[in-house]
Amino acid sequence: MIQNTLSEHDLILYLQSGESFALEYIYDHYSSSLYGIILKILQGRIEIAEDVLQEALMKVWLNRELYNSAKGSIFTWMLNIARNTAIDKLRSTELNAQAVNRVPFDSVSIDEEVHSKTPDYAESANLREILSKLPKEQLQIIELMYFQGYTQSEIAKEFSIPLGTIKSRARLAIETLRAIFTEELKGTDNNNSNPVKKEILLAIIFVLNSGISQEADLNTNNTSGLPSNLPENHCSLSLQNTI
């Protein structure tokens, strides 16, 4: 386990200069996030998800020179690679042969069942908790679009939903998620003891922290265990719509 903290800037330089150390760092700091999304997309099939994680990291390594920080964060880039690889696998004949139900949201299932249904596969409790807070029509868009790989036009066609409605539901879904995260962030002073909430909070801090500073700015007097340079202005920038 490579425990050091690298700035995103340095990580990219290490990675693009071909240091294998950078891949180890990526594995230690990002693989659980990538794996969580892969596992969700592949509906808990652990063996396939492990292969997909390997394939995705292989692509990260082989395509490292194609990454361009002007086009987004390295985390988003890796996440897209992992998601696309998992969705390709989901659609492969191998999985289709196992009669995967790619469409859980038929006309019958878009009801309360969507919220109350406990998945019968491994899924992060945090993810489940977050998704359970979304209104069902927004959850449907996230599930179909992000976790099943439908494009907006495919959803419009297959589910007979007007394209404009899909677009605004996608925006509202992002806004709701932002509001959920903002709530978590605002709740920090209440000494949250819920471990799930704490993990979500750490996730927020990780993401907000990764993009803003080129160098770590760790305050040695900080005993909270959290980075002291949590960027207040950055939070308000990213989460401004709901604060």
């Binding site: 050091n4 240091e19 994680l53 996230i142 790989g149 992002i174 995260f181």
Partner: protein, 275 residues
């Protein structure tokens, strides 16, 4: 009227950013969107992507620990030579060196140093020396960066409770080799082996050093290396078991079995109880 129009425009921008971040566009749609030079749109895309990043981070599930060595070996083990020099000096463009040195030193001297304060006082002393040297001597900054990277790597290795240090001492009596010593950082659980060369006699163009693990009395090839410039840390071939580690001087490229008369350094591995 114009205000309504602006609100519509704003919503359309946010709609597009959301669909883009959720991966709901075809390739041509997303290429088209990304080609639009609009600062506001780019900000909205970044904001939406941050939301997805937090969602993904929240959804983290740790893969099985056995997957780490398997995946890393598969990706960086095979297409690479058996030794990978972890020094940055030779690979980075010179323009990056200054920035690198500063940021690496910064990372080393804050995050890592704090983390390992109790266990690594010796290394920390070295770290301080490096930091002071850096302040004093800007000419040598790329060398310092290299040293800092090695220290950084060493600290990272030692911070893993499964890593054991195996000190390897010279078995030669002659003056050129009697001070030879190296250290193996061995993580039996993950099978990883890193080698730090502190001092070895320099070799010539026709020779390489070769690291061996002795397992049940038999040598196992852990790879060859050439450079004896200190400090460097090499990542060597992996082994999950070893009674001792040894280095021999061999013809270029190494040999399938060690030449015992060329044995240079040797160190016994501690007995481990790995599940």
């Amino acid at each position: 009227m114009s205000e309504i129009h602006n609100i519509d425009d704003e919503q359309n921008t946010e709609n597009d950013a959301a669909i883009y971040a959720l991966g709901g566009m075809t390739n041509s749609e997303s290429d088209k969107l990304k080609s639009i030079e609009d600062k506001h749109l780019k900000e909205k895309i970044t904001d939406s992507e941050k939301v997805i990043e937090i969602l993904a981070r929240s959804a983290s599930i740790n893969p099985s620990p056995s997957l780490r060595p398997k995946i890393l070996q598969k990706i960086i083990g095979n297409p690479f030579p058996s030794t990978v020099i972890l020094s940055l000096r030779s690979r980075l463009k010179s323009t990056y060196r200054y920035a690198f040195a500063a940021s690496i030193l910064f990372t080393v001297s804050t995050t890592t140093a704090l983390y390992l304060y109790n266990e690594n006082t010796n290394t920390l002393t070295e770290l301080n020396t490096v930091r002071n040297e850096l302040t004093r001597n800007k000419y040598d900054i790329s060398v310092m960066a290299s040293k800092a990277t090695v220290l950084d790597t060493r600290l990272a290795l030692l911070s893993n409770p499964n890593t054991v240090e195996v000190f390897m001492k010279s078995v030669k009596k002659d003056s050129s080799a009697k001070n030879s010593h190296t250290t193996v950082y061995w993580n039996a659980k993950e099978s990883s082996v890193h080698l730090e060369v502190h001092s070895l006699p320099s070799n010539n163009d026709s020779t390489d050093y070769q690291l061996w693990a002795l397992v049940d009395g038999k040598p196992r090839d852990l790879g060859v290396f050439h450079s004896t410039v200190s400090p460097f840390i090499f990542r060597m071939n992996s082994t999950d078991s070893a009674d001792a580690f040894a280095i021999t001087l061999e013809p270029k490229g190494g040999r399938p079995s060690p030449t015992l008369e060329n044995l240079t350094v040797l160190g016994n591995a501690p007995k481990l109880n790995i599940q």
